[in-house]
Symmetry: C2
Subunit: 217 residues, 2 copies
Amino acid sequence: MTTTAGDSITVSRRELNKAATREAIAAAALELLRANGMNGFTADDVANAAGVSRRTFFNYFSSPEAAIASFTQKYLDTVIEQLLLRPQDEPLLESAQHALTAVAPSDLATLAETFALTQGDAQLSRFQLEAWDNCSSQIIATIGSRLAVREGEGSSGMDVNGELYLHALVQSVIACGRAAVEVWFRRHGEDISPASLARLRELLVSAIGHLRDGFHS
Amino acid sequence: MTTTAGDSITVSRRELNKAATREAIAAAALELLRANGMNGFTADDVANAAGVSRRTFFNYFSSPEAAIASFTQKYLDTVIEQLLLRPQDEPLLESAQHALTAVAPSDLATLAETFALTQGDAQLSRFQLEAWDNCSSQIIATIGSRLAVREGEGSSGMDVNGELYLHALVQSVIACGRAAVEVWFRRHGEDISPASLARLRELLVSAIGHLRDGFHS
DNA sequence: GCTCATGTTGCACTCGGTGCAACTTGTGCA
DNA sequence: TGCACAAGTTGCACCGAGTGCAACATGAGC
């Protein structure tokens, strides 16, 4: 199988293989979760279903829960990506509204489905929380370094109140994102239809809207 | 050891024993965490240090991480307690400022210390996140049922937008709480002195303050 | 002091998670 | 094209988390 000329840019064969294996494992885990629930399968099962050894499974994911949470990670990674594409002078809360909703429908559907499937399993819930929190940290780090550059080189970083402002703001945004998904789930349950997902998008925007006006009921 | 007459109200001997054992286990876990770091001890070690069997340890905590996170739980439980003592017509954000800071200094110190010790261990971090999230859920449930009662018996619950408002608000409050602790740690590291803790209290109030004015920098 | 409920313990077992050493596969270069 | 090295996979052995179960100990109620 020679290298098909064309769109392959800097992606070596190895990287492609790794990405494919990773996706195969995650997909197998999701399949098993759908069919058996979180306590209905083991890391062995996932490895077999994905056609790799148990040891290789753990080379890619630190646990079965991590494999499932990777879907949430993926969604949030594209949110970050979208966020960084917004104009830097746009208010952050506005950027957030766009970024949270500017994702492929399939990604949003998977986010919603895995969120639904997560209910009832404590350890998986923790991994989901971790994914949202990692997203916060990444955004804070990115914006923080942006501001540090803009502020000039003399000052060592930011003042405490600015740092608090940034952390509180970003974490609140993420909290509102989670709240929206939560409320959506409480109303629509497992319904992943386009109409239902459109409702989720609305909720995401509304939640940030509440945040913007300081929750003045 | 006969029952010392006096302040013992409805607390049976069994309950006292259980509470004492639970505290002993949690204290032993914290001690080992301080001395060896999270990967430096096992559930066995904690059990031995607390004078119980390994099996009993797991009767009280689902994992070593859960034992440590119980300190955060305790802090957040008293926050909830304080929150419910506030007048019901007080704005929630104001109540939150009081509740987050109206705790015993020792509890705040332990919260801060365990937060510091948590850095660097992924699984323990997840348990801490879970503790904060459980706090959100409890507050949402409590306030939700309050409002349901006040709204009258005819309507089945709350409208979607009200529910979103409640979830987003409470989760943002908790997010600001975490943000304050995080920023405090980035500045004060392991410093648990009263002065440092006073600074933490200020940060908690400021963070909610930012939230109240919609982060209009 | 007897009885029952509640809590503790040891045992055995499953599964998550990891270091290690052998092996296979892709990459770069002559 | 083939050779040598790097990177990835696998099996193996091991440790520790977590749980069901059955025997035992302890406090509650009478």
